[in-house]
């Protein structure tokens, strides 16, 4: 079984930024992602207690380094200032590389 190197971008942000992020993804032609609600703490305070729309969401995207860097740059540019948000990259290996282009 051959494995291919791709990247995983993980974005954790307040739920209200979700829509903007998904729009950025689709602008870059990325259709595959996984998301789930999380709680958390960061520079913008404890989240995930109380109103539903104060929760955080984590969005994970497996794709090529190039595409994900573009995505991250756009997120950083437009969303970092207004929303509670962090993101990080990691290396992952997949079987069907064609699924993640």
């Amino acid at each position: 079984m051959k494995l291919f190197d791709v990247k995983l971008l993980t974005v954790t942000c307040e739920i209200l930024a979700q829509k903007a992020i998904l729009e950025i993804l689709s602008k870059h032609g990325i259709t595959g992602y996984t998301s789930y609600e999380v709680e958390g703490n960061g520079s913008k305070g404890i989240r995930g207690h109380g109103f539903k729309n104060e929760k955080n969401i984590k969005i994970e995207i497996v794709s090529t380094e190039e595409k994900l860097k573009d995505v991250a740059e756009e997120i950083a540019r437009y969303l970092f200032s207004d929303f509670a948000i962090i993101l990080y990259f990691s290396d992952v290996q997949v079987i069907r590389s064609e699924k993640f282009i």
Binding site: L16, K19, H49, F51, R77
Partner: protein
């Protein structure tokens, strides 16, 4: 004679406030507040706190629709337009106060102004259950007013914010036109701001609160009392109990927010009490002048007095992301909501009783003439 009657009214209000505190709805709110303050692990499951507002909106919508079917709604137009007009005027007024006296920045000022110009469906529910307790009816079409009023002041605030942002950006553009990247970003922001308004309008109108409310009004109207029978235990019998449970949750959230009140500042706390009082009492008078019933005038006043703390965060975070949510959530939920349901509601009820001349001795005009 004068003095005595004034005294009586005062006692009446105090008595009503006290009686109001001793209702399950208010007491469960206080229980939630206490639980949060002593850092209890008490919390409602998310699913329940998401479901209850939907249920409450459906219940008040059905109730409104049934009432409208029974009593008609020809007379609805003028109160509705008046409510919209007042709401807009109030929003502008809040903005001036916040910006000039409160020295808040544009974004926070507009966000707060619209939070207090908007309406609170939970507050409305509590009002209905308060009236039910007093065995006083209210005009069913006020539920429709609630639904229409929801997006009004948000739209105004967002429109004005966009205007302000556009102006700012234009002047900035003139002064600095060198940094390309930044310029691009600014242009992006203008674009974003421009799309925001229609987006927000769309989202407000398709927002779950309005959909459920309008939908249930129509359903209530369509099915009538006979059709309602089969679901009346769920949507009528359980109503007050469900509010009590929901207010337990609201109390918990308000309690968790109380620490933020320090950050909010004295000015905003005073604002959060005086403005609802002012708006609410005006609302009662205006509604009475328009011919609404005793209970209807109270509900109309409550619409004016209430601040939005469920819709506001969702709408404003998208529409004015530069504003600090801690300001408008904390003041609306932590100060205004408890004040409204515990103190202002009985006050408005007393005022409405007086101007409606319930005890037969004072009527609107000689009340104005003598006491004001």
């Amino acid at each position: 004679m004068e003095v005595k009657s004034n005294l009586l009214i005062q006692m009446d209000i105090l008595g009503l406030i006290q009686a109001n505190i001793l209702t399950p709805v208010v007491l469960f709110f206080l229980l939630g507040l206490v639980a949060a303050r002593i850092k209890s692990d008490l919390k409602m499951p998310d699913a329940i706190s998401e479901f209850l507002p939907i249920y409450l909106l459906a219940a008040i919508g059905l109730h409104g629709g049934l009432e409208m079917r029974n009593t008609g709604f020809d007379s609805m137009l003028i109160p509705m337009l008046t409510a919209i007009g007042l709401s807009l005027v109030f929003t502008l007024n809040h903005y001036q106060i916040l910006r000039r006296l409160g020295k808040f920045n544009i974004f926070d000022s507009y966000a707060l102004a619209s939070t207090y110009g908007a309406v609170g469906a939970v507050t409305f529910s509590v009002g209905l259950s308060f009236l039910k307790n007093q065995d006083v009816a209210s005009e069913g079409y006020l539920t429709a007013v609630l639904a229409v009023l929801e997006p009004v002041s948000f739209i105004l605030a967002i429109f004005l914010t966009n205007l302000a942002v556009s102006k700012q950006i234009k002047s900035k553009k003139k002064s600095l036109s060198s940094d390309l990247g930044n310029n691009e970003k600014i242009l992006g922001m203008v674009d974003q701001s421009k799309t925001n308004l229609s987006g927000v309008l769309r989202e407000s109108i398709t927002g779950k609160a309005i959909i459920v409310l309008l939908g249930s009004i129509i359903i209530g109207y369509a099915i009538g009392d006979k059709g309602f029978e089969s679901i009346s235990i769920v949507f009528d019998g359980l109503f007050t109990g469900a509010i009590a449970i929901f207010l337990l949750e609201m109390g918990i959230i308000a309690g968790q927010r109380l620490d933020d009140i320090k950050k909010v500042g004295v000015f905003l706390v005073i604002f959060s009490i005086l403005i609802p009082t002012f708006n609410g009492i005006i609302g009662v008078f205006v509604a009475t002048a328009l011919g609404l019933s005793l209970g209807g005038a109270v509900m109309f006043g409550l619409l004016m007095a209430s601040a939005s703390f469920i819709a506001a965060p969702a709408v404003l975070r998208h529409a004015i992301p530069q504003a600090k949510p801690s300001l408008y959530i904390t003041s609306a939920l932590g100060v205004t909501f408890p004040y409204n349901i515990i103190i202002l509601l009985p006050i408005m009820f007393s005022v409405s009783s007086i101007v409606h001349n319930v005890d037969g001795s004072i009527n609107l005009f000689n009340y104005f003439g003598i006491d004001l």
